[in-house]
């Protein structure tokens, strides 16, 4: 079953299995395709895509299939006049709605041995994207990261 067939007005698609070793190649391929789709994309925007997408895919790999059999994740890249969207399509667990608002970065005003080693990902995604949109229908998540 292909998740993106007929459901995505796609310009380009990248597919990956939800394991940690698949993330880097998928991110690199996405960056490459984004440049091909829109040659005017700034280096800054490409870097933002690199980080935000890596963080979002880390979350899918870590959380989406904990209680479900792993299945293919699909990245749909679409380009509009003033924005570019990378949509992560998967059939894993629903995204907690609270994460659609920026949770803020972890507090660093703590003793050195209590400094946080995680919890930065979602706030990074919010900061680096212009907007985030999420839909879930028929057990399929569509998380759209929108870049300028």
């Amino acid at each position: 079953m292909t998740l993106c067939k007929e459901r995505c007005a796609e310009t380009a698609i990248v597919r990956l299995q939800p394991d940690v070793s698949g993330i880097r190649p998928a991110v690199l391929e996405t960056m490459h395709l984004c440049r091909q789709i829109d040659a005017t994309l700034s280096d800054d925007t490409i870097d933002n895509i690199q980080v935000a997408l890596s963080e979002a895919l880390n979350n899918v790999v870590e959380h989406a299939f904990v209680h479900l059999p792993a299945s293919e994740v699909c990245l749909c890249i679409t380009c509009g006049p003033s924005k570019l969207c990378v949509t992560i399509v998967d059939s894993g667990a629903p995204l907690p709605e609270a994460l659609l608002s920026d949770p803020g970065m972890p507090d660093l005003d703590v003793a050195p041995d209590a400094l946080p080693e995680g919890g930065f990902g979602w706030s990074l995604i919010h900061t680096l994207t212009k907007d985030i949109a999420y839909q879930r229908e028929d057990g399929i998540n569509r998380l759209c990261l929108i870049f300028e």
Partner: protein, 112 residues
């Protein structure tokens, strides 16, 4: 991913010989760092000159490496590329670590 280290006087320079530190390598990085810093010189410089990209897992691994230093050991970071600097800045980790633009800057500061 390789870490190579070089000792100078009371200083250990640990260079990351990889273009990234990300979720796929974070645990290995942390373990390798412990091996490189344990019972070593008091000043450690982590040379990130070759690292073009870190994600939050990579950042977390660097923080973890700092937390597992011996008592009295201090780690500073050198050669952060723009992408890596950005992640440190957005997470405000640039207020926690001492960052040097280049390895030479870090070494000069350690010897002065």
């Amino acid at each position: 991913m390789t870490l190579t280290s070089e000792n100078q006087e009371n200083l250990r320079i640990i260079s990351v010989d990889s273009d990234r530190i990300d979720a796929a390598m974070a645990i290995q990085f942390k373990d390798d760092m412990r091996g490189q810093t344990a019972e070593g010189p008091k000043r450690v410089i982590l040379d990130l000159t070759k690292v073009d990209f870190i994600d939050s897992s990579g950042l977390g691994a660097i923080v973890a490496s700092m937390k597992q230093l011996d008592q009295g050991q201090k780690m500073e970071l050198a050669g952060l590329t723009p992408n890596v600097q950005k992640v440190f800045r957005l997470t405000r980790m640039d207020t926690i670590f001492t960052l040097f633009p280049t390895l030479d800057d870090a070494v000069d500061a350690a010897h002065s």
